[in-house]
Amino acid sequence: MNPYWDCGFCEFFRIFFSRAFDFLTGVPIEAASDEIQFGTLAAVALSCGLLGPFLVLKRMTMFANSLSHTILLGIVLAFLFASSLWGGEMFSPSTLMLGSLAAAFLTAAFTEGLVKFFRLQEDASIGLVFSALFALGILLVTLYTRDVHLSVEAIMGNADALQPGDFKFASLLAALNLSVLIVFYRQLKISAFDRQYASALGVPASFFHFLLLFLSSAVSVGAFRAVGVLLVLVFLTGPYLTARLFSSRLSRLLWISPALGIFASGIGVALSRHALSAFGLPLSTGGVVVCAIGLIYGIGIFLKLIRRGKLQPCPKENASPS
């Protein structure tokens, strides 16, 4: 049934590429669950790899962290709203998009409002807002859906329960991110590096700030089922940090980080399949991909150290007068 049943790490890629070749040459095939997983994860990695550099440059990653928490409240609110108006489902794309918009708006409004009007220091404001909104989200989910597992699943993700619909949504998001980036690359770049200069040029920096918030919130939603709201943060930061070890040009970073993310997704899915066939261990695929990204970062640092020549024994450096 599943062509990947009981196959190892290398075999996975052999089968995958031959099936991909078949698919491209027009042989009709039905997508296997592993392919759906890989596709969804790769789409998430693509969106995250494109957004991540901007978020890190604008020092907004902790903000992305709060977004990834508050998204739960956003989705619950959108679900309550949609189900009462037109009977929307919890995980239908329209509800999810509405939820991500609501989450981005709520989080931004509260966090910045506390800093501006209540004179709170920024780190405390971020921490207070996301934990409170997330707590509210968990309570609402528990009360309305009567499902304890949903909130755990939201955090941990469950890549094994992915469906073709999830893949469609994730690739739609990736397409959205890609097109926004292509259309507004210059404006995003200028407003990320120098907000004042951007406003002097007439670029509405606040608009792009919110656009970035909305996109990252949408990506969190897209990743909601695949990797969970927390692990998506590794997708956002990890590939960028790795790419940053070797390049400092934004345009190059924007190529490397999605590529690394997609590469890690492939490795992760294959590894998780390998663990299942070889040891009978059902590992969480999202988690394995995250570990792969972490591993790639580690390798990157190792390579960089070798390049700098720091790994050769160098006794003088450690001896410092105290």
Binding site: V56, R59, M60, T61, M62, A64, N65, H69, F117, F118, R119, L120, Q121, D123, A124, I126, G127, L128, F130, S131, A132, F134, A135, L136, I138, L139, T142, R146, V148, S151, V152, I155, M156, G157, L230, L231, V232, L233, V234, L236, T237, G238, Y240, L241, L245, G280, L281, P282, L283, S284, G286, G287, V288, V289, V290, C291, I293, G294, Y297, I301
Partner: protein, 438 residues
């Protein structure tokens, strides 16, 4: 079920006391981190504890399958190990790789959590019952705490309290002026070390009742609320502990009551403790941000409104000093304010005995004349000071004086008078009214 039952009942008292102690400890240590502006460190460290919890529990559950308590210690040991590792990783990324602080925090948080997720999925088949127990730690489950936990949390809380009590002076010096502390020969490294380890202790023990995901909020919210009420470090810590205790108690009670209410309607659903505690804590913080005296938003808004109102009153008086009587419409032409506001101002001035209304005309009383003269005097004194002492050009002095006339105190007026040798004429050759005593 009365409130007292929560403290004495053998089943209920475990969660109540446990949560209480844990909340006090974490809000005290959270206060320290709040003052160091490293609130978000707690978020990363509590998530970094997750793989350690999973690994520790699996290790002990496999080695000693009979002893539940040993698995608890395994959990603590593992959590410490990985949290510490996470902290070192963050430090290393910030210092050696020059990664921005927020990116390092975020990356380590999620990476460690991912490793934990993989480990948890690996134990799914071998230790299914432990896996559900670990899942409960995600959002906190105070319900299963026993007297043993009470003792543990009480010990921790007293350790934190003793550290703050005896190390208070040193802590104060390190928090507010670490350079001074270094030159004064205080053991800054040891204090930082103690802060870090106590914070980690509080964080990891707190995970039991509040949960991994929300633990950082528990450390932040009481500190935010406490900061609103005081500028003194002692009272800051006391209030922070008080707010922490309050949210812990109320959150626990809500969670227990909610679970009972849900079970009455026939659902097997537990209301997790963590979110309830956090929501109470956040509500306290929000209310303090809004209504605390002095620093609260409402208070600040009122003070600003009162000042604006006083300025408008003084402007009206000043205008009346220049022309004998005014009609209501004439006021409206000069001062562009809402008619209702103008009515309020005039009413207030009448109450103060500064103006009277004769037919349709408003006229200054003797008191009002003196008051208005003193405002005009302040205005012109300040103009003269700006022009003669600071050398500001004549076109620019009027607007500045328009604002300063409301702010200058009698004491400053006295000094200005002496400095300018009791002048009679201002830079625009207008007479400066004599000083009058109201």
């Amino acid at each position: 079920m009365s409130l007292l039952d929560f403290f004495t009942d053998p089943v209920l008292r475990g969660p109540t006391w446990g949560t209480l102690f844990m909340c006090i400890a974490s809000s005290l240590m959270g206060g320290v981190l709040f003052l160091k502006r490293r609130c978000l460190l707690g978020e990363s460290l509590s998530h970094a504890a997750y793989p350690g919890i999973v690994a520790g529990v699996s290790l002990f559950a496999l080695l000693f399958p009979e002893h539940d308590e040993s698995a608890f210690f395994g959990m603590l040991a593992g959590a410490f190990a990985t949290s510490f590792l996470g902290f070192k990783a963050i430090e290393w990324m910030e210092k050696k790789e020059k990664v921005r602080s927020d990116a390092a925090l975020c990356f380590v948080l999620a990476l460690f959590f991912g490793i934990g997720t993989v480990a948890a999925s690996a134990m799914q088949s071998s230790l299914p019952s432990w896996r559900t127990k670990i899942h409960a730690l995600m959002f906190g489950q105070a319900a299963t705490m026993s007297d043993f936990h009470i003792a543990l949390y009480a010990m921790l809380t007293s350790a934190v309290a003793l550290f703050l009590f005896f190390g208070f002076r040193h802590l104060q010096a390190v928090l507010f002026d670490s350079d001074y502390a270094k030159t004064a020969g205080l053991p800054v490294r040891w204090i930082d070390w103690a802060i870090f380890w106590l914070f980690l202790f509080a964080l990891i023990l707190g995970i039991r009742s509040v949960g991994i995901v929300l633990m950082s909020g528990m450390a932040i919210a009481p500190a935010i609320a406490a900061r609103q009420f005081t500028d003194r470090l002692q009272s800051f810590f006391c209030l922070s502990a008080l707010f922490g205790a309050l949210s812990g108690l109320a959150g626990n009670i809500i969670s227990v009551m909610g679970t009972i209410a849900l079970s009455k309607s026939g659902e097997r659903l537990t209301l997790p403790t963590g979110p309830s505690i956090i929501l109470i804590g956040a509500a306290i913080a929000l209310l303090s941000l809004l209504f605390a005296p002095k620093r609260g938003w409402a208070f600040r808004i009122c003070r600003i409104a009162a000042f604006r109102f006083r300025c408008l009153q003084e402007n009206v008086l000043k205008a009346m000093w220049k022309k004998e009587s005014y009609l209501f419409n004439e006021f409206q032409e000069i001062h562009r304010v809402v008619p209702l506001m103008l009515h309020a101002i005039l009413w207030r001035l009448k109450q103060g005995g500064w103006i009277v209304k004769a037919k349709e005309q408003y006229i200054l009383t003797a008191d009002g004349r003196r008051k208005a003269a003193s405002i005009v005097r302040l205005h012109r004194l300040w103009e003269l000071y700006l022009a003669s002492e600071l050398g500001v050009s004549h076109e620019k002095i009027h607007l500045n004086a328009e604002e300063m006339e409301h702010i200058l105190t009698p004491d400053i007026e006295e000094r200005l008078t002496r400095l300018l040798a009791n002048p009679k004429v201002d830079p625009h050759s207008q007479p400066i009214p004599e000083r009058s005593f109201l």
